[in-house]
């Protein structure tokens, strides 16, 4: 409580810094698990995850265009907006009420993101296996790899913030064949919803990470604040 580095007194400035450094050194072993390095990781990995989310958003925009063209009309028509069918609920929906979503804790939101992308990734991989054209397959697998990176990245953010990884259905939700659509049209409808949900999720995740970024300040500041606490 003595440490007031930013005291206005010019004579007390050097003294203050000295005291601060001493206090910091003294408290160094007492800092919980030397949080400074982890905090540094959290801030950075949140930024990276945010960047990756924005990149995926951009990537999906072009991919979705190509893929919907591949599905053919009416899927590539701009006004195509079918009601969400019951079976499309297999894909995790991002259409949760925004206030409800904001009311969640960071942990809960991150866990929801993590679960959603893990499942979306599984469906996307099934999709990849069915596509007829090599070029589209290549692009899909590229996107899958990026999305895999996002899942890992969210996992990293969670662990750096000290949250446990959700134990939920990280693996595939079951054999893809079992829940596969009974006909090609419904399969296309699933694909359409998958892309749509992905888009919504990415949009929302970008918002989430941006908020989180502001909440978790840069590493150096964190260190000082925490040190001041002692």
């Amino acid at each position: 409580p003595d440490v007031r580095a930013d005291d206005g007194d010019p004579a007390g400035d050097s003294w203050g810094i000295f005291t601060f450094l001493c206090a910091a050194l003294c408290n160094l072993p007492a800092l919980p698990a030397l949080n400074c390095s982890e905090e540094l990781g959290a801030g950075q990995s949140i930024q990276q995850t945010y960047d990756l989310t924005r990149y995926l958003e951009h990537q999906l925009r072009t991919l979705a265009g190509t893929y919907l063209n591949y599905l053919g009309p009416p899927f590539n028509e701009p006004d195509f907006n079918p009601p969400r069918m019951a079976r499309a609920e297999r894909v995790p929906s991002a259409t949760v009420d925004l206030d409800l979503w904001r009311g969640l804790t960071d942990n809960a939101r991150l866990a929801a993101n993590y679960r959603a992308y893990s499942r979306l990734l599984c469906y996307l991989r099934v999709l990849d296996g069915q596509v007829g054209t090599a070029e589209l397959r290549h692009r899909l697998s590229h996107f899958c790899a990026s999305l895999q990176g996002l899942v890992l990245s969210i996992g990293g953010v969670m662990s750096s913030l000290g949250y446990p990884l959700p134990a939920g259905p990280v693996g595939p939700p079951g054999p893809p064949g079992a829940s596969a659509a009974p006909n090609d049209f419904l399969k296309k409808m699933d694909d359409f919803w998958l892309l749509k949900e992905l888009q919504t999720w990415l949009w929302r995740s970008a918002k989430d990470f941006n908020r989180l970024k502001k909440k978790v300040p840069p590493a150096v500041v964190t260190l000082r604040l925490e040190a001041r606490g002692f």
Binding site: G72, P73, P74, P82, P83, G132, T133, A134, F185, M189
Partner: protein
């Protein structure tokens, strides 16, 4: 016979008529049985029925029948009104007696019996939804008939609400005295799911022996295949995900809930018109379907709040694989390749699949082919102890299948893999060994390998090596006859030696440079005595790469005199000559080339030069690409001739070149890439004797003669009044560039003038031309010239190549002095003589002269003085002073410079012809383009003196309509004051002047003044012009906007009186002047 039968028929008809008459009588009696009808279903028994009256309905009926008189009558009692009795052969007599009625007798002939087969029953009706096929099964009931018969079955299929017959077919069968289950398939053009399909059947048996009437059976009970539209809660588009061939006609239907309204149905992106099948089913028909895209064509049914769909895959049946070819690269697998032909247009699980079946072994391999490659490849394992393979390549997709077959002996279809690991090792400078590896077991065949040997200075060479094949092993080959110190590239490819099929690809190339060897021969040498004669210079030519066998590092030059070494010298590269001090003695010179591997054999030459007499010098010019040198045969030249020349002419040390020729040669053509046109070369022909070399002849030659570079330099050595002596120098050999033919001089009168053309080309008739062909002459005298005249002299040199540029000089001949003296003296003498003669004449006649010109008493008439007076009065009118003419006094008006310009304009504008009007256009933007009509400076003066509050004059109450547009200008509220003023600036009729003038009198003295001018007044409200004056705050920049109006218009003609050009040109300065005035006048106010 025919007649007979027809007669019988007639008889029977007559009897029938008679009987019917009887029947009718019977019918007449009430209560009697009547209308006996007999029908057979099986041609063995018949069922007879009859009608009775109400009285006879109760109780039993006695029924008796007899076929003929011989058989006893059969009788039985029955309560029903139908009996089953056998069919008679010809006729049967029936007696029926109901209780309480009379006995009635009927005779029934066979022809009265009708034959109606039993109503068939559908045993089963099975739908196959994916193929939209119905399978119908029924029994033919053949066992009921005593003998085989032809049967016709009519099948009817119906659908829709209300039912419509879709199809009706007739099916033939033979009845074989036993019950047979018949089966019939029908494929619907509409998916069976779309709506219910109904099926019924009836039959007709063509019993030819039966004479009675035959009829179709009744229709069987209808069997139905219910459509999905009958199942509650069922919806969707049908057929579901079909795969069809291109060009098919397709029907799709949309089954939905009863209460759902269907919006539209699309196939791909196109909407189709729907037909209603039932209240829950609608269909569309797509004709001639095109190839679908890779994910299939979507058939979508859009309902009010749902989407239903199906995906149709339209493609082609697989093409027959073409160019099927199988070969083995290694005797482990067989690679079969083929061209797939037309793409099927189907992808994913519906793609075309290939399988390779080998008939001998019965082995089947399914092929995974990627659609990307043009050629498809499939591997089949090589089977032990099997050489011949009978392949069938099967191709299939959901639409169809195809196949292609190939019988192949793989020992004759060996296409080895690319040789790998090619290495090279050197044996010596001319021989290397190559090693390479081929993967595969070629133990059963011989391999033929081809080595490619290439180097930069030799042609590509191919060397074939045949070697017994081994199992995955390394092969070697030796390459000889290589050249030392040469960089070689080697590569190798292999094939089957016994049955050539295909070469493998070339292996990766390897490079090897062979090591050096001693030079193959001694260098070509020549020697020459130095100019002093003390030394001998030895020259040698460099060896070609093929002869040097390495890099020549030095030449060793030795000098022997009778096996005694006089001198030994090592000359390092790149020198190609050396000097040996020999004095006056001679020796045998030996030169050896040396590289890192060793020395060449020595080349020898003697330094002895035999004396030669009368050596001639010839001239030679190249014919073609070489210089021809010929000589007479010298029989004593035993060891040939040598032609030696220098590559550079002139004083500098030249690089000596030479060529040797055998002794029987008398003419040679010397060629060299170094020979250049216009350069003089000196060739020396030496003859070779055992004793030494003898100079035989010199030849001067040119590759090509060119015009001389310069003309000879010359000077004029002597000049006289009629001749000049010109001397010139020789042209240097380098500038001569050919053999000198002649020198031409051109002489012509002329001053120094740079622009003069060349004399030789001017064609001047006075041109004097002298040609000097005697080249030893170095001077020339030109005679017959004029004295003291400027001459232009030009000299040009000629070779066979042409003439040189001229060298020109001006020379002035000396003058002729005698002629000059005479020319001066004669006129002087004449003048003196005349003077003397005049003096004498005057002296002699002096009295007469005095009387005539100067008498002592002068004559007044002849007085010069009075004459002079009169001339003055008449001749000069300007001296008149007292002339009284009426005079208009001139007046000078002093005007201020600022107002001068407007004043002038005013008079112009106010001329009665210019009855101007200003378009009453309120828009500001247009006003910008308009021209300023400035009236007169007093206005301006007044305006400045008037405060702006005076502006709204009385005339502004009247709104005048624009003559041209005839509309009242719009007035925006915020712009109202301004617009008001502008509108008053419009046209005003000239005749109402007095009234309006009176009204405004008090406000604008300017207008008052203007009113006085006869009938004309300005068409613009001058007050308005003031809007833009700088004294109104912030209006400096708006000057132009307010001060501009349209072109003045005539009232009568509505034509612009001032041409548009004037609008632009003349009024503009007025505007500037006007605004300028204001600017200056208002400056103090600011």
């Amino acid at each position: 016979m025919w007649k007979n039968s027809s007669l019988r028929c007639l008889l029977a008809l007559a009897i029938l008529c008679l009987r019917s008459l009887i029947y009718s009588q019977e019918i007449g009696s009430l209560g009697d049985p009547q209308n006996l009808k007999c029908v057979t279903h099986n041609l063995q028994k018949m069922l007879c029925t009859w009608d009775v009256s109400s009285r006879g309905r109760r109780g039993q009926t006695d029924f008796c029948y007899t076929t003929n008189d011989l058989t006893p009558q059969v009788c039985f009692k029955t309560k029903e009104r139908r009996v089953e009795i056998p069919i008679p052969e010809s006729s049967i007599t029936v007696t029926i007696k109901s209780s309480g009625t009379a006995t009635k007798e009927f005779v029934i002939h066979q022809k009265d019996i009708s034959f109606v087969p039993i109503t068939p029953h559908i045993l089963s009706l099975m739908p196959d939804f994916p193929t939209s096929t119905l399978n119908l099964k029924w029994s033919d009931n053949g066992s009921v008939f005593p003998y085989g018969l032809d049967a016709l079955w009519q099948i009817q299929i119906l659908r829709k609400e209300p039912m419509e017959v879709v199809t009706q077919v007739t099916y033939y069968s033979k009845l074989t005295h036993e019950d047979v289950i018949l089966s019939w398939n029908w494929t619907s053009d509409m998916p069976l799911e779309c709506t219910s399909h109904y099926v019924k059947i009836r039959c007709y048996i063509n019993a030819t022996q039966f004479v009675g009437s035959k009829d179709w059976s009744d229709w069987s009970p209808t069997e139905v295949i219910p459509g999905k539209d009958t199942e509650p809660g069922e919806s969707g588009v049908f057929p579901l995900d079909p795969v069809v061939a291109v060009g098919s006609d397709l029907t799709f239907c949309c089954v939905h809930e009863e209460d759902q309204r269907i919006t539209n149905m699309t196939y791909g992106s196109k909407s189709y018109t729907m037909m209603q099948l039932s209240s829950r089913s609608h269909a569309i028909r797509v004709l001639n379907a095109n190839v679908s895209n890779s994910s299939g064509t979507n058939v979508v049914c859009r309902l009010e709040n749902a989407w239903e769909g199906s995906v149709v895959f339209v493609g082609y049946a697989p093409d027959t694989p073409q160019n099927l070819s199988c070969e083995t690269p290694n005797f482990l697998i067989i690679k079969c390749t083929w061209k797939p032909g037309r793409p099927s247009g189907l992808y994913g699980e519906r793609r075309t699949k290939y399988s390779l079946f080998e008939r001998t072994s019965g082995r089947n391999v399914s092929c995974e082919v990627s659609g990307l490659n043009k050629d498809h490849v499939c591997d089949f394992p090589v089977l032990p102890a099997q050489k011949t393979y009978d392949f069938i390549l099967g191709v299939s997709n959901p639409i169809g299948q195809a196949k292609s077959s190939l019988l192949v002996d793989i020992t004759q279809r060996v296409h080895p893999k690319t040789p790998e690991k090619l290495t090279v090792t050197e044996n010596n400078s001319t021989s290397i060994q190559l090693r390479w590896f081929i993967n595969g077991s070629f133990a059963e065949i011989r391999l033929l390998c081809q080595l490619e040997i290439s180097s930069s200075h030799s042609e590509r060479k191919l060397q074939n090596v045949s070697t017994p094949g081994r199992k995955s092993s390394t092969y070697t080959a030796q390459v000889n006859e290589l050249h030392p110190h040469t960089k070689y590239q080697f590569r190798v490819r292999c094939s089957d030696a016994d049955h050539f099929w295909r070469w493998s690809d070339w292996s990766r190339g390897v490079e090897q440079t062979t090591s050096e060897a001693p030079p193959a021969r001694g260098p070509d040498i020549w020697r020459e005595r130095s100019p002093s004669g003390e030394n001998v210079i030895v020259f040698w030519k460099p060896l070609s790469p093929s002869e040097s066998n390495g890099i020549i590092v030095s030449h060793e030059v030795s000098c022997y005199l009778l096996d005694m070494l006089l001198e030994h010298k090592v000359v390092l590269e790149p020198s190609n000559s050396t000097e040996i001090k020999l004095g006056k003695s001679d020796c045998v010179i030996s030169v050896v080339a040396r590289n890192n591997a060793g020395s060449s054999p020595p080349s020898r030459i003697t330094s002895v030069e035999l004396p030669s007499d009368n050596v001639t010098t010839d001239q030679a010019v190249a014919v073609g690409n070489g210089i021809n040198i010929s000589w007479d045969s010298y029989p004593n030249m035993t060891c040939g001739y040598i032609v030696k020349w220098c590559h550079s002419s002139g004083s500098e040390p030249c690089s000596v070149d030479w060529q040797k020729f055998p002794s029987n040669t008398t003419s040679v053509v010397i060629k060299s890439a170094l020979f250049k046109p216009g350069v003089r070369y000196n060739f020396s022909l030496y003859g070779c004797k055992s004793m030494g070399y003898q100079l035989l002849k010199n030849v001067t030659g040119y590759m090509k003669e060119l015009p001389p570079k310069t003309a000879p330099n010359f000077i004029v050595e002597e000049t006289s009044s009629d001749s000049i002596l010109v001397k010139w120098e020789d042209i240097p050999i380098e500038e001569c560039r050919g053999f000198f033919k002649r020198i031409s001089s051109f002489l012509c009168k002329g001053e120094k003038d740079a622009l003069k053309p060349r004399l030789s080309e001017s064609g001047n008739p006075e041109l004097k031309v002298n040609n000097i062909t005697d080249l030893t002459k170095k001077s020339m005298k030109i005679l017959d010239l004029q004295g003291k005249t400027s001459y232009q002299l030009e000299l040009q040199a000629y070779t066979a190549g042409g003439l040189s540029p001229p060298n020109s000089l001006y020379v002035v001949t000396k003058e002729d002095s005698v002629g000059l003296i005479i020319a001066i003296l004669i006129p002087v003498a004449v003048v003196v003589l005349l003077g003397v003669l005049a003096s004498i004449f005057c002296y002699r006649k002096r009295e007469w002269i005095k009387e005539t010109f100067y008498p002592e008493i002068p004559n007044p008439e002849n007085s010069k003085a009075l004459q002079f007076q009169r001339n003055i009065c008449e001749g000069n009118k300007t001296l008149k002073t007292l002339e009284m003419n009426p005079c208009t006094p001139n007046s000078v008006e002093v005007v201020e410079t600022q107002s001068t310009a407007p004043k002038i304009e005013d008079t112009e504008m106010m001329s009665p012809a210019a009855e101007t009007t200003v378009p009453e256009d309120g828009s500001e933007s247009e006003m910008e383009n308009h021209v300023v009509v400035s009236y007169c400076p007093p206005i301006i003066e007044e305006e400045i003196s008037n405060p702006p509050t005076d502006e709204p004059g009385g005339s502004s109450q009247v709104v005048y309509i624009d003559i041209q547009s005839m509309y009242q200008p719009q007035i925006k509220p915020e712009e109202e004051p301004e617009i008001d003023l502008v509108t008053t600036a419009g046209y005003k009729p000239q005749m109402q002047l007095s009234i309006s003038a009176l009204k405004i009198e008090g406000h604008s003295p300017v207008e008052e003044e203007l009113d006085k001018t006869a009938g004309y007044r300005p068409q613009a409200n001058t007050n308005a012009w003031n809007m833009g004056t700088p004294d109104s705050p912030g209006s400096v920049e708006s000057n132009n906007e307010n001060a501009s109006f349209g072109s003045p218009c005539s009232i009568n003609s509505r034509q612009f009186l001032l041409p548009p050009k004037d609008d632009e040109d003349s009024p503009k300065p007025i505007n500037t002047a006007w605004s300028f005035t204001h600017f200056f006048q208002n400056k103090p106010n600011d």
